[in-house]
């Protein structure tokens, strides 16, 4: 039974408390008082607890399916109960974490296709096997989706019924007070001269003032407070669902792209204009926000002296952009961690570098190439950058060049290096090739690599070129001139419609968690009866008042203190009333002046069933 209770309560510390309370409940019930048992087990989970209790009891025999007697429906119900249990949800959460490990260990097709290709080359036997298991597309694989959907179903199956139960319980009055309040975890008693009904009335008034929900019966008052505990609990679970939905939204409708943009150039946010495009499952070319961005200028300032020499001081990219074809142009000063936002799409500055400008004349004397070529930094301290120049339309031979751009060239023992990231002394060193670049075959190539397998290296010294200098190729194959350089920036374009919902969900989950930890659902019970019933009849006009308290989840602690305070206040209230009633001066002290049996003195307080 406790198992089932825990199962239903899925997902929080309250479940454990629920267990404990249920056990206590059983203990009390075994002890005797059926009302007390009802009170305690009811308090374990309020109305929902009662529902749990009954459903738990109902399938006490069913939780161990007894073969054929169960039937299809029974099995389905059993399966559903297992799926929506907290244990299953935790196992699924763990599996989800486990399943994403291969996604970070193996190269992923959607993120780095080149790395996947390299993996195929390095592991020709293993790679196809992994591919069949979706090892290169982990987050899009059926098994990953299965875990994700099961977790979603498990959470939904747990949270939704609970929401309905809470909604129902919110409208219901607290349960009747148990008969023997002394058996409750918190109990106290005192005597008063006030009649039982009046004592109860005054206790009820006090509890109402303390914003308890109060219910009165014959000889008892029962009050409940702290419904926000369960609300916080539910908020947490609903927010968890919201988080999953947000992630799904991002995965389905979001996209990421990259674009390297040279100063003076423009690009459009279309699949055609992006260098790397990673769309979500439901993203089509038409769903991309149709903005254009022009890089007017990029500047980088570096620290020029001291220990930090060469470290970047500031990067800034001046952009002009519009949000649709032919729309009005606006300006933006793009900086690191200061993205541009266009129609919900964020554009980040994630890199920069140099694009030396080359002019290539072929063997026929015609200029076949004249443009900046982005070189990729291979180290950061001097921004030494590597790149290739391909001239596929040079005649009679296709030409290719590979080499480095050195912003501030120095010679370190015969080796070229760059001493500073700013272009103080820019030089380019290239190796020249002629032959077949391999691009005419139609096989896509990286623009950053040169396939020299069908090319011949030309006997040209790779001596560094200053801006304006040229390499004249042998055999009249042509000439390359390094005419200058431009800067480029690398932009990351991200659109994630799940981002805001995810943030809201995360905040809500945290609020719910805090709420459920700080607020406890607690009940106060008061019983009043003529004291003479079980004493020697000496004080027949005395009334014995018993106060009991119960909380379900006391994660933050402190209910004992609250109970003591409340019980004392009830005593004061009742005795104050009594004093006013009998027109005796002295107020609260009146009670003390009576010849007092142990009960009539100060408040007697008991813990648990050991009270009195």
């Amino acid at each position: 039974m406790t198992q089932d209770l825990a199962g239903r309560a899925a997902g929080d510390g309250a479940a454990v408390d629920g267990d404990r309370a249920a056990v206590t409940g059983e203990g009390v019930a075994a002890d005797g008082g059926s009302v007390a048992a009802d009170g305690v087990s009811g308090a374990a989970d309020g109305v929902s607890g009662a529902a749990d209790g009954s459903s738990g009891a109902a399938d006490g025999g069913r939780s161990r399916p007894a073969g054929s007697r169960l039937g299809v429906l029974g099995w389905l119900r059993w399966g559903w109960r297992q799926l929506t249990s907290m244990r299953t949800a935790l196992v699924l959460l763990f599996l989800l974490a486990l399943a994403s490990i291969p996604g970070s260990v193996l190269p992923q097709q959607g993120i780095d296709p080149a790395a996947v290709t390299q993996y195929y080359a390095a592991h020709p036997a293993l790679a196809p096997f992994l591919a069949r298991l979706s090892g290169f597309d982990v987050f899009g694989s059926p098994w990953f989706a299965a875990i994700y959907l099961l977790l979603f179903t498990s959470l939904a199956g747990c949270v939704l019924p609970r929401t309905f139960r809470l909604a129902r319980s919110a409208g219901q009055p607290p349960p009747a007070a148990p008969r023997y309040l002394g058996r409750l975890p918190q109990a106290a008693g005192f005597a008063t001269t006030l009649a039982p009904d009046q004592a109860l009335e005054s206790a009820a008034a006090l509890l109402r003032r303390r914003r308890f929900r109060v219910r009165k019966g014959a000889g008892w008052v029962s009050a409940e407070k702290g419904y926000l505990h369960e609300t916080g609990n539910l908020l947490f679970h609903v927010a968890l669902l919201g988080l999953l939905v947000s992630v799904a939204l991002g995965g389905l409708f979001g996209y990421k792209g990259n674009r390297l943009l040279v100063e003076g150039d423009t690009f459009a946010n279309t699949p055609v204009g992006l260098d790397v495009f990673r769309p979500g499952r439901l993203v089509t070319a038409g769903s991309l926000q149709p903005f254009s961005i022009t890089l007017k200028k990029f500047s980088a300032r570096y620290i020029t002296s001291g220990d930090q020499r060469g470290q970047p001081a500031k990067f800034a990219a001046w952009l002009r952009y519009n949000s649709r074809y032919g729309g009005p142009m606006r300006s933006y000063d793009l900086q690191v961690n200061h993205p541009l936002n266009v129609d919900g799409v964020q554009v980040f500055l994630i890199g920069h570098g140099y694009a030396p400008v080359f002019k290539v004349t072929d063997g026929t004397g015609a200029v076949r190439f004249d443009q900046p070529v982005p070189f990729i930094p291979v180290e950061q301290s001097g921004l030494t950058s590597a790149g290739v120049v391909k001239v596929p339309d040079a005649h009679p031979r296709q030409l290719g060049f590979a080499g480095v751009f050195l912003p501030t060239e120095i010679d370190v023992g015969g080796r070229l290096a760059s001493a500073f990231p700013a272009a103080e002394y820019p030089r380019v060193s290239l190796v020249s090739y002629a032959g077949n670049l391999g691009v005419n075959s139609g096989q896509p190539q990286s623009v950053y690599s040169l396939d020299t397998s069908h090319m011949r290296r030309l006997a040209v010294s790779p001596r560094p070129l200053a801006p304006g200098q040229s390499i004249t190729l042998p055999n009249g194959l042509g000439k390359l001139t390094f005419t200058g350089y431009r800067r480029w920036v690398s932009l990351a374009i991200t659109y994630d419609p799940g981002q805001l919902p995810a943030l809201v969900s995360a905040v809500a989950a945290l609020c719910g968690l805090i709420l459920s930890f700080l607020v406890r659902r607690r009940r106060m019970f008061v019983r009043a009866a003529p004291a003479g019933s079980d004493r020697d009849g000496a004080a027949s006009e005395m009334t014995a008042v018993a106060v009991g308290g119960l909380t379900r989840s006391d994660a933050a602690g402190g209910f004992a203190a609250e109970f003591a305070e409340l019980a004392t206040e009830i005593m004061r209230e009742v005795r104050g009333e009594a004093a006013a009633d009998s027109h005796q001066p002295g107020g609260a002290s009146t009670g003390d002046s009576h010849e007092a049996p142990p009960l009539a003195g100060d408040l007697t307080q008991a813990a648990g069933a050991k009270g009195e």
Binding site: P271, T294, G387, D393, R457
Partner: protein
């Protein structure tokens, strides 16, 4: 379909592993021993990022043809070109770049088709994206491209087709019927026969 594009049309620009490869290559180059291959990152062997996987051909029947945007621009030769001026003809609009390997392979077939339809009411127009005009003119000369191409380094013509039938890769070829509606799209490298039959289909049902 579009997921495969980046690899197909222009093998990825910088990425982590690629940078590492370039880094190694660069150090080799600096050391002056880059004799063999600089870097190999052609997405070929995996079989997952292939032009074939990218290829798709679509025909839209009259009535379901979205209207093509009015595009006016400068050609590589420096003249002015308006797509609307070709109204009355079927327009074959090919998005290409001189750096794009599949574009280079399909270029002879396109040139041959342009010659084939020389006397028919069919106009061929190119749109050169993400390119420099010098390299593009050199490409046109290599493949004896006889039709004009818009100079579109910032992909603005591609953007103008947003909301209609946008090009989703380089190369993409759009067919615009004589009333200015988009009647077909080929994503990826065209084949002579495939495009020929598509043009004939549009010619048979021009609007």
């Amino acid at each position: 379909m579009t997921r495969l594009r980046s690899a197909a049309s222009r093998a990825a620009r910088p990425s982590g592993a690629l940078r590492a490869v370039i880094a190694v290559a660069a150090s080799l180059a600096v050391a002056g021993c880059a004799a063999g291959r600089i870097a190999q990152s052609t997405p070929a062997s995996s079989g997952q990022s292939f032009v074939q996987g990218d290829y798709s051909s679509a025909y839209f029947s009259p009535g379901s043809r979205p209207k093509a945007p009015a595009v006016v621009g400068r050609t590589l030769g420096g003249g002015r070109l308006s797509l609307a001026a070709d109204r009355g003809n079927v327009v074959v609009l090919n998005f290409w770049g001189s750096w794009c390997a599949p574009c280079r392979r399909e270029a002879p077939a396109l040139a041959a088709l342009a010659a084939h339809f020389k006397s028919a009411p069919v106009r061929f127009v190119g749109d050169d994206v993400h390119d420099s005009s010098t390299a593009a003119v050199a490409f046109e000369r290599t493949y004896s491209v006889g039709y004009p191409s818009l100079n579109d380094p910032g992909e603005q013509v591609a953007l103008a087709f947003h909301g209609t039938v946008p090009p989703v890769a380089i190369p993409t070829t759009l067919l615009i019927d004589s009333s200015g509606h988009i009647a077909g799209r080929v994503v990826g490298e065209i084949s002579y026969r495939g495009l020929l039959s598509l043009i004939d289909k549009v010619l048979a049902r021009p609007r």
